[in-house]
Symmetry: C2
Subunit: 154 residues, 2 copies
Amino acid sequence: MLDPNYIVGFVDGEGCFSITINRNSTMHRPEVRLVFEIELEEDDGPILRSIQEVIDCGNIYRFVYKRFPHWKPHYKYKVSNFKDIYGKVIPFFRKYPLQAKKKFSFEKFCQAAELIKEKKHLTLEGVERIKKIRHKDSLDALDAHVQWGVAKNY
Amino acid sequence: MLDPNYIVGFVDGEGCFSITINRNSTMHRPEVRLVFEIELEEDDGPILRSIQEVIDCGNIYRFVYKRFPHWKPHYKYKVSNFKDIYGKVIPFFRKYPLQAKKKFSFEKFCQAAELIKEKKHLTLEGVERIKKIRHKDSLDALDAHVQWGVAKNY
């Protein structure tokens, strides 16, 4: 098993804590989600499996960027289930704190998680509060061009 | 002080072990150098100082990419003194092994270091052997457009 401090170092460099707000939701209000993810080129896929084992949740996906066909395929480790975010991801990084600037994104992520835990994101007022917390890392425009699929070998 | 495993995780994501061969050397043969470096955006500079403290060698530089003036300034932690590479950087990552694909670059870096230690890089035959070992990470074309300078605050 990987040392937890190794994972913290890796995530400080390569991880992403996002607060996504989907305005095109079929519901009567924007849909708020928290996503923790790490994206790497295909040949670095095995380390994602090792990280997943320690964090003990999430899935690994393989995908290609349609807009950038010359790019290598990528793997993404992704946790978007709120129970896992709140019960596993956040406690892990509370126990083993981030050391680089990513700690600021993580703090905002945790603030949003508390509001979601209290079901505040189900009201327009709550969504507005989360919008204010939200940080630029959440603006993942490339995602719209991603072809998702569960990885065969993972 | 940072946990060494944290540094290994961070370097697996963001570090670079390069074998550089300068064909325009003023000497009668190409000049071979090993460089270990981590480059980050300016606002993530403090973590480089913390890593430098543990590895116990190297310098930190601040620079801008002339070709990409809209990019934020960057900081680079760089070790290029061979004595430090051989006596500090390599032993550190032997003691705390890399876990992701970067371990393959590191192995090539170590092979080249052994040849340099034996002064093989001072012969054309030795340079050819190192060229064969060399990996794609070494091809850092962007470096030619870098404006170097010792960081004021580091």
